[in-house]
Amino acid sequence: MELYYLTAHQLHDMLIKKEISAEEITRAVFGRIEAVEDKIRAYVTLTRETAERQAREVDKSIAAGEKISPLAGIPIAIKDNMCTAGVRTTCASKILYNFVPPYNATVIERLNEALSVMTGKTNMDEFAMGSSTENSAFFTTCNPWDTDRVPGGSSGGSAAAVAAGETIVALGSDTGGSIRQPASYCGVVGLKPTYGSVSRFGLVAYASSLDQIGPITRDVTDCALVFNAISGHDPQDSTSAPYDQPDYTSYLTGDIKGLKIGVPKEYMGEGIDPAVREVIRETVKVFSGLGAQVEETSLPHSEYALPAYYLLATAEASSNLARYDGVRYGYRYKEAEDIVDMFMKTRSEGFGAEVKRRIMLGTYALSAGYYDAFYNQALKVRTLIKGDFDQAFEKYDLLLSPVAPGPAFKRGEKIADPLQMYMVDICTLSINLAGIPAISLPGGFVNKLPVGLQLIGKPFGEGDILRAAYAFEQSGARCCKLNLLQV
């Protein structure tokens, strides 16, 4: 198989056996980018020169007989909402079109320490607000499985790049499903970690109490390796949790005998494509066959998650995005009469339609007279939703559900109706409200399009998630393997 379609752990083995060099890997990936990027459009910015230089450094380390980390020399694509010193970070927004961060996000520092090789910055829905990358101010990314379809979002560029061989692994961010849903649509693995397990320092904020960075990879082993590298306490993020970080690869045993898995019935209801439900029922059989105990359960407040999420996320966004005023960085409207005029015209020209809509909604929810009815009520409902999960996890180690109601949809299909687009996140956003971890991994196909299954864990229960995901992947019962995409 071509180098650009291998996994990080396969390439690592080849590197330490000196069968290939890091520079060859990087060249192979950039060769692939040259061949298919016109059709996929996964990247906003490519960083080939630095990548090749970084790769040569890794080759020097190997030649000097140094022990290298599992991610050394491995190409990684970064969603364009994580700050990269000296490399443009746009959030796919006109308002940050020229922003060059003076510092690195903590995840970037950690990847640099691991000597991984950044390929570039990937496309996304503007400020991570969206489920299709159609809200990018620059262009829409295409799904490598069917280029008429969206790759999902908001981390659509990262997921498409991993699926199309335009990188080996990637980072995304997930506020309501933005790692898991594109992973599902593109047939790759995406982990949304426990809130607080990965530092948000240097991640451009959308909704601070929900945002979390996580890996997008081709298999579960790579997911564990990337998560190992980026997780852990960071004093620069006051919401970063101090916890004992295990080696997540130690959970990849293949043994899940006796594991208790609940399937919440609310996630298998009418809003879910029957073909997707069938895929999930098939995966239940696989888990049972592997020795897990699977049964139906209930998360009774599920139907309230979507409205609660959209009020809380937009309220936080309206406050977070107040910083874009044209004063210190980014786009500025030049012919303003006074400063308020400058603020208003800068923001109106700099933000796209969905971002403005969410600022409006969030501002409304927080404004005098509506605060209690909307924002405060949503915070209370968040408590109830979290309580549902706490209760379920008294009985189960994991929960299993679809990731999205259907496979990837066509470009333009949902963009005119915001509420219909929001529905796409119905199976994922409760997890962010509860702050718990969940993975999306390839579970099967509907109309030749990949469909993900979601495994949801307890707070800091990524180990159990990875254990079950690995056992499922290794069982080979479903087509988990990456198809060689003809794009």
């Binding site: 005023d325 500025r332 929001y422």
Partner: protein, 93 residues
């Protein structure tokens, strides 16, 4: 229903200048979304505390000591307009 007047008020609070078309569109779309959100009122939450944050972390402090900070040049490097060591903006008063 969110009236055009309410849309204008909220837009001003959010420092957004909307076109007439945008005002009409957001009036309708925000009404639809908020109508959906009214569902939350069905729940009795009188005795439910709000969750603004899932982690049991409070008052995270660091040691109060001096350290390195970013140079003025670095801070100003992205400025749309500057004069000497300041960000320059249109008149305020």
């Amino acid at each position: 229903m969110i009236s055009l007047k309410e849309v204008e008020h909220v837009a001003l609070l959010g420092r957004l200048k909307l076109t007439e078309e945008e005002k009409k569109l957001y009036s309708k779309q925000l009404s639809d979304i908020l109508e959906h959100a009214r569902k939350l009122q069905d729940l009795d939450t009188a005795n439910v505390p709000p969750t603004s944050h899932v982690l049991p972390l409070q008052n995270v402090f660091r040691e109060d000591r001096t350290g390195e900070h970013m140079t003025t040049e670095k801070v100003l490097a992205n400025a749309p307009d500057r004069q000497d060591d300041y960000f320059k903006v249109p008149r305020i008063l």
